[in-house]
Symmetry: C3
């Protein structure tokens, strides 16, 4: 690990340095930081811990300070953390090379500076853009288009016709372009409806480990630029996901949903098929969405309702035993009254 | 893509042609269809869009028509769609061959016209039936029996002793025959109970991407003929699933459940262990089933209750704040009355 | 399969033999057992079936007996079953060997008696302990430390820096050490926060098929000794899981949760991030946990509340339609009274 002057770090992370401009040799969490390290203080409740820490310097958010130590004040803590970690842990450069122990179809077009590691498979008429890295056990089918600087981690599957933009990261075990779940019932049994559409993943998207994104029945399933999807998420056929969305783990989105930009979903959220979700909607973890949601709304519950309403309803649900007692008491009183 | 006469298409999809018997060059969705294409109109709300479409012909369901265009009337829209798409997108024929870059055990029995692609692994005493295709990175263990015309897509894992029928499709990343989750607690720690049963997948079954079906503790876990299982579904040890069931994504079925024929489960449904589900039961998405369900019932909720009852209960839950106000008001009135 | 004397079996499984000391040739479930087999009777409701069974001997728990047959009485049925099955189905010995068709980095340290099968990949500076078996299509990154007698089944992914203890079993398709889901929002888009921590899996842990355990942002994600995790479970970054926990399938644990020892979670349980769960807590299937839970508590529901309270609340929820009627009736009566 390299060392950096605090003044240089401050410049890099858009912060203002207070205290001595010393050199730090590493970055670590507050609980693990040693002398010579820079660490983070974003919540005042950890102030005491920070003061006791052997760390030599701190990144703090506006309003906080660590007296007696050097600290850099920033507006956006997470962003500063991202930049600082990138400084100390730069992306490892791969020596571009195409392994003899992989299979690369003769009709595949592999651009400059591509790395294909052992035991990768690249099919017919597939294009791989400059700087892309293909890890072992990656399966890329036929007619796949992959952009530049894409990271395709071990065991990723890209089925035929999939399109992937630039700077995408596909985490291990994700499956893109498997058949959508579509069957016709003929009165006796289910007959497979051929799934002849494709999946399009735009620039700067990330797809989590063991997540599955199905190809469209016809046309396309799309994940627009900048959207980040966590592990074990399921995206059905013909779903259209907007830009800069964030979906936590184990979310499930049924076929033909149409999701706006900047939509946030907590873990395990489920969407019925053909649901429309407006821009900026926030859906609480474990919610089940069965109706369209207007832009900007915050919803939660199974079935999901507005967050404000859910809070009210939920507070009463937990008091139902008391309510029932009250009702029974009233009922008795009134009946007594009646019999007078 | 080939072109077809509408009269031939009508015959193929069991429909009646109205209008000119022209030739169409492609099939596409309503929103993407170009001149020369045939497309679909199954819902009257899209009629206006259909009339404006440049498509040259339509498949419509009974009761609909597209004046001024050729159209084929069918009874079962989805089934017609399945057949029409199959006509335009016939299953790609693989040139049966066994890759030198795969590992096929000497004791494995590989029948005629089998395709084993690069980087596939086939273990001892395993049988692979005629016409079956094994994609890259498929792991097939020992003593596995695989039927005819099975499609085993990339990264599928078939552990020892698994049996797979004819015309089965195993989607990428599915894991069949991993150990069931069984432990004995010895007072201090959990001791693994060896899982010595197997998994049997019958004819015409499809298993979705990254779905897991565990081997039985003893005896077998079974998925009967014609059942279709979506992505990321979990089937525990010793579960018995009937014929022609349809389970949507992220369903979880705990050990030893017994599920009838023609059972439908929405996404993310969970079943407690040892539950019996009768034929034809329908379970709404995200339901949690903790009791046996009689045949033909429609249930929903956590815990799941009859759909009719759930509708009633749910409509009241959302009005709980108003109910509480009413109760409080009554309570005050009655108390006032008391004090008179 | 070998045969064993009942007296030897009784010794092995800590039981007391009643009846003749015969030899049995196999172990089977009650419904499948044939003459010559030993089987199990742990529930009195199966007594009749047991009496009719052709099985030659039984393992029964205290309080049960099968008259006219030999039977071994044990205190802990599951534990006896585990031991008996291990006797009849001993772990297959692998002939330690390193396949030429695998890739083992020159800087990897492979200890004695290790098996590396075809198409496995082992990265730089990685250590694999004695007796460990690496199946086909396993990806092991750089700087990974793997203990002794570990079973790494097909398609497992161990990303860089992961540490795995002794006697661990990693089931097919599990992904350990993929990046945590951490992004900073810069006002326009999400910027990846480098995930520079690691995953530590302690001794005797088992990780289910297609389960994902993410590396920490900084520091570590840890699964302590003896914990058993089922299939399709998601463990977020910086989660700390105690000893001897049992998590059923499809559980999801968001980042930075801190979970005690002997915690049991049913299927599909979800935990919000930064939740603390005390020792011995039991969480019912499909629960959503949004608050810390004290040790020893039994909770259930979305959001999860105490099991006792949930039973009360739930019994009233199902009677809400009747309650509403009662309330309406009262309301009418009181209003009539008012107008008198």
């Amino acid at each position: 690990m390299k060392s950096f002057r605090l003044s240089d770090i401050a410049k890099e992370i858009d912060g203002v340095l207070y205290g001595q401009d010393i050199e730090v040799k590493g970055v670590a969490s507050l609980k693990s930081a040693k002398e010579g390290d820079i660490t983070f203080l974003f919540v005042s409740s950890y102030l005491e811990e920070a003061v006791k820490s052997p760390a030599s310097a701190f990144v703090v958010i506006e309003g906080l300070q660590v007296s007696g130590k050097s600290y850099i004040v920033v507006k956006n803590g997470s962003l500063a953390q991202a930049k600082l970690l990138k400084l100390f842990y730069p992306e490892e450069e791969k020596h571009a090379s195409l392994s003899d122990k992989s299979t690369i179809s003769k009709t595949a077009v592999i651009q400059d500076k591509v790395t294909v590691m052992d035991f990768a498979f690249i099919g017919e008429n597939t294009t791989v853009g400059e700087g892309t890295v293909v890890y072992p056990f990656v399966y890329i089918g036929n007619n796949v288009k992959i952009g530049r600087n894409v990271k395709i981690l071990p065991h990723v599957v890209l089925m035929d016709d999939t399109e992937v933009g630039d700077n995408v990261i596909l985490y291990p075990g994700s499956v893109i372009g498997s058949d959508g779940f579509g069957y016709a019932f003929d009165g006796v049994q289910y007959v497979k409806i051929p799934q002849v559409g494709k999946v399009v993943i735009e620039d700067n998207v990330e797809i989590g480990a063991n997540t599955t994104i199905d190809r469209a029945a016809m046309d396309e399933t799309r994940v627009a630029a900048g959207t980040k999807i966590d592990n074990q998420v399921m995206v059905g056929h013909n779903v259209n996901i907007g830009k800069n969305c964030v979906f936590a783990a184990q979310v499930g989105i049924a076929g033909s949903c149409n999701i706006g930009n900047y939509v946030v979903m907590g873990g395990k959220v489920g969407l019925k098929d053909h649901i429309n979700i407006g821009d900026g909607v926030q859906i609480g973890g474990m919610s089940g969405v069965i109706n369209d949601v207007e832009k900007g709304k915050k919803i939660v519950g199974i079935p999901a309702i507005s967050y404000i309403k859910w809070l009210k309803v939920q507070s009463i649900i937990e008091k139902l035993p008391e309510l029932k007692k009250e009702l029974d008491k009233l009922s008795n009183l009134v009946k007594k009254e009646e019999h007078k």
